[in-house]
């Protein structure tokens, strides 16, 4: 079932290219040391792939433990303290170790230079540093986990986080270091986009994934420092008791929430924007169409990045925030919805009169569209201030953000992974098992999280260890769905790993895509290109396939 290169008309650049480049970036240098000290953005991307996938696996184990604990209303497999620690670790691992670094770290590093015809990112050493910051942050956080872990929730709300006796500071410090890694990546991407575009690639001809990464990087650079200082203040308060958020000394716990969400709301867009960018690429490739409304999609990424900064107050509607601020943040939250709507409509329009190949990555695109649509609409419903009062801190919110993050980001991540896998490793995976995995994930996801919307409506607050018995049936449904979801992930993992050994060579362009990154060989050589490609057309321009418009 692997795509046969012969039946797809090769893009002009592919003609005469070898099916599998024997001496490529993976084997040009050998030995562990060459990996640990590599400055090659592609190898750094692969390192991120290994690290963040491990984090996803770890976070997934925590998630399953949580769902099993919630299978019955009373205690099931663990104590309340263990439960509190588990959901904290689930959040911290998934958000700081997987969601935020994954797509920029893996696909951004690997493909951003390829997509703008550059030989590397602007600062390769900083790029390697970001991997080590990731490892350091993860190690510090892991140290905290082994020594019991925090029980604060990933939001670290004061005064709980400053008074709890559990190990909070390693988690805070770990998140701080991970944030530094995130800043370095973002800074690197912005400078790369500004200075290293190949001749012919103007700002308005960059692939849309690059636009999404650019917008993401702006958020990373401008929001992460505020998280840094906030976590630092909590750590100082936890260890020394300076009283900055301590109500007994005149401090204001709500100030913490303002500062925390000033980062953590835009962080949602750090997670979802790169996924949106990847989806744009995959969708165009499999519909074999130019992206409808290139400018609108590109600018909506920037719009999300900027407006997304000023919606943080919608996390504080029930915190005692003023009605005036609630109104401002409520309206601004609506505007973020508009930018997402622009993307969804343009994606849909891209499909119109396309030639749609239903392959594994495209199934993830469809899943992504559904999840983002539903998650986004419920997000707007949540921003409708009066409704939020009922839903705030209930399972409705849990379901909403899992729709965006698991449904959106993870589906985007898997779409990108299955789309670019042949380019990264030069091998094609089993299409049949790819589709099985994608279907299991789609179904399992819906079974896990749709019941949680209803639980939220019923009024079940989040982070509940035990619950009144009327919430029981829906919790059972959710846990059952989660096991299907977990099975789906295992199928995907096995399919991809087996392809490395048994997969056929994929060829330089197995999907017949006109994205700029497919102009090089699979896997790419060490310096990205054997000869510098030229960029005479927009990305994903399939116009030359038209009989009347032949040539290029």
């Amino acid at each position: 079932m692997s795509p046969s290169p012969a039946s797809i008309p090769p893009a002009p650049a592919d003609a005469g290219a070898p099916l599998y480049l024997e001496r490529n970036y993976l084997n040009a240098r050998r030995g562990l040391w060459s990996w640990l000290t590599t400055l090659d953005h592609k190898r750094i991307g692969v390192m991120y792939l290994v690290l963040t996938s491990a984090a996803l696996f770890l976070g997934g184990i925590f998630a399953m433990l949580l769902r099993i604990e919630l299978l019955t209303p009373g205690p099931t497999i663990m104590s309340a303290l263990a439960y509190n620690r588990t959901f904290t670790l689930h959040g911290v691992v998934m958000i700081f170790l997987f969601m935020i670094p994954a797509i920029p770290g893996i696909f951004g590093n690997f493909f951003l230079p390829l997509m703008i015809g550059a030989r590397d990112v602007a600062f390769p050493r900083l790029n390697l540093l970001s991997v080590y910051l990731y490892l350091t942050g993860a190690a510090i956080a892991l140290y905290g986990m082994i020594h019991g872990g925090a029980d604060t929730g990933w939001t670290f709300y004061t005064p709980y986080s400053t008074t709890t006796v559990t190990m909070v500071w390693p988690i805070l410090l770990g998140a701080f270091v991970l944030g530094m890694g995130s800043i370095v990546t973002g800074l690197n991407f912005i400078v790369t986009v500004h200075t290293l575009r190949a001749p012919g690639i103007g700002f308005m001809r960059m692939p849309l994934f690059v636009w999404a990464l650019y917008a993401t990087s702006i958020i990373q650079v401008l929001a992460t420092p505020v998280l840094g200082i906030t976590l630092l203040l909590v750590a100082v308060e936890n260890v020394f008791g300076f009283g900055i958020f301590d109500p007994a000394r005149g401090g204001d716990p709500v100030l913490f929430q303002h500062m925390f969400w000033f980062y953590s709301h835009p962080a949602v867009y750090i997670m979802i924007l790169p996924a949106m960018g990847a989806i744009t690429e995959v969708l165009s490739a499999f519909a074999r169409k130019n992206t409808f409304g290139y400018r609108a999609v590109a600018f909506s990424s920037l719009g999300i990045a900027f407006v997304g900064f000023f919606t943080w107050g919608h996390h504080l509607f029930t915190s005692g925030q003023s009605t005036v601020d609630a109104g401002i943040f409520g309206v601004l939250s609506m505007f973020v919805g508009i930018f997402t709507a622009i993307k969804i409509f343009n994606w849909t329009a891209t499909l119109y009169r396309g030639s749609i190949a239903i392959r594994t990555p495209f199934i993830y695109v469809i899943a992504f569209l559904f999840f983002l649509l539903f998650g986004g609409m419920t997000g707007i419903a949540l921003a409708t201030v009066a409704l939020d009062v009922h839903w705030q801190d209930t399972y409705f919110v849990v379901a909403h953000f899992h729709f965006i993050m698991v449904g959106g980001t993870v589906a985007g991540f898997l779409a990108a992974l299955t789309y670019w896998w042949p380019k990264m490793f030069g091998k094609s995976y089993s299409e049949r098992w790819g589709i099985v995995g994608a279907t299991l994930i789609f179904l399992g996801f819906n079974f896990t999280f749709i019941p949680q919307f209803l639980l939220g409506n019923e009024g079940m607050p989040r982070r509940y260890y035990s619950y009144p018995v009327r919430f029981w049936p829906l919790n059972v449904a959710s846990t059952a769905g989660a096991s299907v979801l977990a099975l789906g992930f295992l199928v995907v993992l096995a399919t991809l790993l087996l392809s490395l050994k048994y997969g056929k060579p994929a060829g330089p362009n197995p999907w017949g895509s006109r994205g700029y990154e497919w102009k090089t060989l699979s896997p790419p050589p060490e310096g990205n290109f054997l000869t510098q490609p030229t960029y005479p057309r927009m990305p994903h321009d399939y116009d030359d396939l038209n009989p009347g418009r032949g040539g290029h």
Partner: protein, 211 residues
Amino acid sequence: MPAAESHVAHHFPDLEVQSHAARLGMWLFLATEVLLFGGLFTAYALYRMLYPSAFHGASRLIETSMGALNTVVLITSSLTVALAFHYSRQSRNRLAALLLVATIGLGFVFLGVKAVEYAHHFREGHLPGRFYRYAGLQVPGASMFFTVYFLMTGLHGIHVIIGMGVLTWLAVGAWRGSYGGDYTTPIELGGMYWHLVDLIWIFLFPLLYLI
């Protein structure tokens, strides 16, 4: 200039693009620093709004003349580091190195003055949060002023120390003639960092000492 060409990394077309990239990267880094301090400025602004007279009273407890002296010291150090960059461009490396050493010296003066102030606060009990024990001013928010004061000046002090470390490294390089002529990017970036430290202080001084 072949000597300068060797400083161009393989993925940059020429030195000009590379210095442009380095400068833009540095500005982005400085933007993160601005937002890092922005969090503390937010805390300051909120608590000052909530406790205006406590902040006013507590601000009297810190010595304006010390702050003014430190402002002059930092402004002067900014001048020396700017001149170091200027002479480095003219390849007068020894002079540039000496100016960098002067900057580091001024950094030590700044830290010395700060240490004298801190020692005074420790003696008097002008301390943050639960450590506050100054009997002369017991109103809600007084300890909060010192919480903010110590956090802001402390974080700023850490930046001064880091900046001095960077400048030491640059001074050694300048003395050895590693920079000069068209290749002065490290001194330029190090200088920008030092100017930012100055910049933050320009705001800390009126907010903490002059209210």
